[in-house]
Amino acid sequence: MAVDMRLPTIKTSMSLSVPAAGRKDLVVPGDVITSDTGFMRGHGTYVDEDKLTASVAGEVQRVDKLICVRPLKTRFNGEVGDVVVGRITEVQQKRWKVETNSRLDSVLLLSSVNLPGGELRRRSAEDELTMREYLHEGDLISAEVQSVFSDGALSLHTRSLKYGKLGQGVLVQLSPSLIKRQKTHFHNLPCGASIILGNNGFVWLYPTPGQQEQEAGGFYTSLEPVSLSDREVISRLRNCLLALAAHKVLLYDTSVLYCYESSLQHQVKDILKPEVMEEIVMLTQQKLLEQEG
């Protein structure tokens, strides 16, 4: 088997945008943002002797009188309505615990899932006993944030046919800050695969489902073998996502699709080579700029 080996090289920064040298809005922990008492303290700040001080390294964001510091990299801070992809870690009484890259494990209540066999069904004691049949430890689900508890834990729901258990596909774990907030996070890409861009940075790639599969209430998982061509498309998309993430490009349907198109001239495995990655991302950024302007 041919193995590609390389020696360490110095990273050169590549960018289309202007370099950020000497930017004033970047702060580090302990930096005094303002000593004016007229401002409100937001996330990433604290008050020390009447001075508003940063507690994380990142950029300052000001909305009227509210000052926040947004760190470059952080765990997922969920908001109501966010689409998440998560993994079941525990089955408890009337609830599942879901790992969603958040500060605490999220909760999926038995009463906030669609059980097979009708919308309006009473949750009986039997349902509680058979919870593990629907979802057990290690299963992946897509869900929406229903509410946020006072300690920051999220409560999820899958009360829609588009949410539910995930079957065959590929999970890519990225930073939540790379996902662009959009109206919909479910996309059927024209290249022949579908993508769920979870707000928590978990991205799910799967073959575009046929019509009949959607009716099983989210618990039916197809075990049909996925064709080789579909698998290749999914692998290519996965490598494209990693390439975009490595160069900190925001992820949404257009950027992923453009990246996919620019990568077509390379083999799937070559996309992860740094120089190829750089080329593809450059092309993608160019296309995005053209589309904008």
Partner: protein, 245 residues
């Protein structure tokens, strides 16, 4: 003294530094993609790798959870090849347990744990090459890793080891100096407010000298903070280039 002259008449030390001079720093943040935060730090010949996971749900026994703040879990270890004598270092020996405890205390003073009730923050530090000042290098590396993870802190935590030779405090001791029978003191400082997070001294020292020694340690820590500050700002600028829309 063990035959070695730690400070010459001209005021130079074994490795050619002046009394208050720090060793050369080399640092990188964000060395691992999978961890929430990570950093690599070289301070002279001492090299440390720090990794931070969290804040996340408490793993293991749930009874450790605190209802009003996060639990900080530190683990210190040394690589088998880190010292001159190759030695298997079993997990959880006396020395590393003590060091883990010190690290935990240090970071509980700086990290704003009250923001993350019922969760846990893991800090793992590994010494890859040991040449004195292990505690201080670990603290400095872990500070960078915590900042990289985006976990709120009151301030940097900077640590430095100082020794006392011939009425002169020596900053940032190397192994030869540490083992040369010097009474040394390790100090972790939150530099902006001047609060001390941890002081540790196991040797004997005349009471009158303590103040000068702590004074020298604080000055050295402030020097360390300047270096770390530069590293963080550099990293911030590089990382924020692309994330702008």
């Amino acid at each position: 003294m063990a035959g070695l002259e730690l400070l010459t008449d001209q005021g130079y030390r074994l490795d050619g530094r002046k009394a208050s001079e720090l060793r050369k720093f080399q640092a990188r943040m964000g060395v691992f993609a999978q961890a929430d935060g990570s950093a690599y730090l070289e301070q002279g010949n001492t090299k440390a790798l720090a990794v931070v996971y969290g804040p996340h749900e408490i793993r293991g026994s749930r009874s450790r959870a605190l209802h009003d703040r996060a639990v900080i879990n530190c683990q210190y270890s040394m690589a088998t090849f880190s010292t001159a004598e190759r030695k298997r270092r079993p997990h959880g020996d006396r020395k590393s347990t003590e060091m883990s405890l010190h690290l935990k205390q240090t970071f509980e003073a700086a990290v704003m744990t009250q923001l993350f009730p019922r969760s846990q923050i893991d800090i793992y530090v590994k010494i890859l090459q040991s040449d004195g000042g292990n505690y201080s290098v670990c603290v400095n590396a872990a500070t960078l890793a915590v900042i990289d993870a985006g976990i709120p802190m009151r301030d940097y935590v900077c640590a430095c080891t100082v020794g006392f030779v011939d009425e002169t405090p020596l900053a940032d001791l190397c192994y030869a100096e540490e083992s040369g029978g010097v009474s040394s003191l390790a100090l972790a400082l939150l530099p902006r407010g001047g609060q001390i997070a941890l002081v540790q001294m196991d040797a004997r020292l005349h009471q009158d000298h303590l103040e000068t020694l702590i004074e020298a340690a604080m000055t050295a820590c402030k020097g360390v903070s300047k270096v770390l500050d530069e590293v963080v700002r550099q990293h911030l600028q590089e990382a924020s280039v692309h994330s702008r829309e």
